[in-house]
Amino acid sequence: MNKALIVAKWEFIEKVKSKAFVISLFLTPLLIIFFSVAPTLLMQSENDETLVIGILDFTNEYFEQVRNDLESIKLSNGTPAYLVQSLKVEGLSKDSLLIQADSKVLSKKIEGYLFIDKSESDSLIVNFRSKSVVNFKLLSVLEKSVNDIFLINQLTKENLDVRVLSFIKNKIEINPIKIKKLGEEGESEFLTTFFSSMIFILLLMMIIIYSGQMLVRSLLEEKSNRLIEILVSSCTSNQLLVGKILGLGFLGLAQIFVWILFGIAAVGSAIVSISTFENLPIILFYFLLGYLFYTSLFVGIGSIVSTEQEAQQITSYLSIILVLPIIFLLSAMQNPDSAIVNVLTYIPFTLPSIMIMKANLLEIPITEHLIAIAIMFVSTAVVVYLSGKIFRIGILSYGKMPTLKELKSWLKE
């Protein structure tokens, strides 16, 4: 067997067996699913308590309707979500009624109350007074209810048919359709696209940063206990370099594979929409190109460190470069043909992320794919070549990190 493959096999098997890898393998997708789903779930999760809501309606036009609307909402166990009571008491002045209502809120007898009154100029004043910031869901129900009654009242006042209301309320939504090829089209929704691109790009970055750190750390271990000397007295430094890149490449593939299984499970349980995986082959391809590019970079630069601090410094610098495209992501999504996006499409550092995003947004012409692939291949080859030069000397030098001048002379050697 080729020695590079022996190194690759070792790197792969030893890292796959490590606890840190196994943990991250399962933890990362769980975290991503959690963070993408949790907010929605939390918003949807209803309070299973019935809330008491008061209404102080001095116009006498809204109470009945609003109460009906609110009390028709049921909790998951079938009990009504809201109990509505009128706070009006005959014989009391407006001011004392308000004081009484406010004290009910403060003593938690009611969650809050809807205050409706007419101003002197006959415009409507509607407030919801409560102790804490009002529940978003309740507010939207109240708004809808009050608005409906308001509109009906206006229509009646102007002697118009109340049925006009249904026309007014019928909104027309524009359905975005993505034209893929002539005769082939697909639905496209900004948010889904954004999130699915985002998830893939984040995954790419996490895998790269994680395995980059792992690579630098293992190089550091081999350097500090001189294992590297045994290795390079058994194979050439290029075989070692290629072996390490390949080993980590397989490691990345294994992670992606497991994560796709997670993804399929997530689709199966309808947490993630199937459209997220529509462009999977293209995305995976760019994912791999980016992974190889950055891993080669990490190997070269990682070989010059000889302490844990230096390793951390270097990996965090590289990680910042890696995460840079996120800044442009939102604007790029809004206008995937803008000049800045076009420039980033040709820079190997940002190309993979941008192409993953673009693949989700629009149909990329085959020529653009070919150019992008050519750029990645050439730049990865250049990085491997340069890394090889640095690696050969870097792995055998201890003590202080080389200066730029020294690095230059290494590259020339």
């Binding site: 022996i6 190194v7 490590s18 271990e221 001189r226 000397e229 290795l231 058994s234 194979c235 055998l396």
Partner: protein
């Protein structure tokens, strides 16, 4: 036979190794000695093809050392370390496969060596669970498992207790019997003295002393003998071959001129007195080392 010809390696303006030449015959342990920073490691790394010398050639059995020859070299670096989290057997198999052994071959050889060093029961343990001495044994196995023709040992005994040192020493001698070349780099002069047939003393990248142990001792030591005899020691003054002598409580150290061998002098001496003790005094390698390096420094 390993042959190093005019090896030079510079790091910037520093000449780490300067026109070094030597040969190591099969069946011979070659001692590469010298103070820290003398250029031993650079020489070893050049032989291992790890670093490229600026000048010079290295041959083994008349073939230049190249990538292919790496499978035929065993190397035990001075600073030891193994993959701590990995299993003993996995580490041995990894290094062996990097030396070009196929896996069936490796397993039987690994078992052979583990048994020979009495650590078979540690086979499936993690390296970090092993004692330092046992870790060193694993490293030693990794260096010799592919039965290399050239074995380079950098401080092979450091970290071993006397019993293990003896075990490893026997091993090295066993290995030598198969006609291998061994380069031993060490600061333990007594070990070098016992094991090496040829010595090279490096200082500042240059060879300052080189040859068989006997040659070096002879060259360095002059003609010294130690005797004990019945009778008056003043008799020694009458021998023209005696340059000087020192009398201790029951021994006399004598410095002879170079034109008489110790045995010839003994013959002359027994004709005059009754000799109870006679020995040739050799300077220890340690003394030679220290004196030579001091001498170099004062130059």
């Amino acid at each position: 036979m390993l042959e190093v010809k005019n090896l030079s390696k510079y790091f910037g303006s520093i000449k780490a190794v300067n026109e070094l030449s030597f040969r190591v015959n099969r069946g011979e342990i070659f001692g590469l000695l010298g103070p820290n920073g003398a250029g031993k490691s650079t020489t070893i790394k050049s032989i291992l093809n790890i670093i490229k010398p600026n000048d010079g050639e290295i041959f083994f059995d008349n073939h230049p050392i190249d990538e292919k020859f790496l499978n035929n070299i065993g190397y035990l670096p001075e600073e030891r370390g193994l993959y701590k989290k990995s299993k003993v057997i996995d580490v041995i198999l990894y290094f062996a496969s990097l030396k070009g052994l196929n896996s069936n071959e490796v397993i039987s050889r690994a078992n052979f060596w583990l048994e020979k060093l009495h650590i078979t029961d540690l086979k499936n343990r993690k390296i970090e669970e092993l004692s330092k001495g046992n870790q060193q044994k694993i490293q030693f196995i990794s260096a010799v498992i592919h039965n290399p023709d050239l074995l380079i040992l950098d401080e092979p005994f450091s970290g071993f207790d006397p019993i293990n040192q003896q075990e490893i020493k026997n091993f090295i001698l066993d290995f030598l019997d198969n006609g291998k070349c061994i380069i031993l780099s060490t600061h333990q002069m007594d070990t070098a003295e016992k094991l090496c047939s040829e010595i090279l003393l490096l200082n500042n990248g240059r060879s300052v002393l080189q040859g068989t142990l006997q040659e070096i001792k002879k060259k360095f030591g002059g003609n010294h003998i130690r005797v004990n005899f019945d009778g008056d020691e003043n008799i020694l003054s009458s021998f023209t071959e005696v340059i000087s002598y020192e009398v201790y409580s029951n021994l006399i150290d004598i410095h002879l001129t170079d034109n008489i061998s110790p045995s010839d002098f003994l013959k002359k001496l027994i004709q005059r007195v009754s000799v109870n003790h006679f020995s040739i005094i050799e300077p220890t390698l340690e003394k030679i080392f220290i004196d030579t390096i001091k001498n170099e420094k004062s130059k």
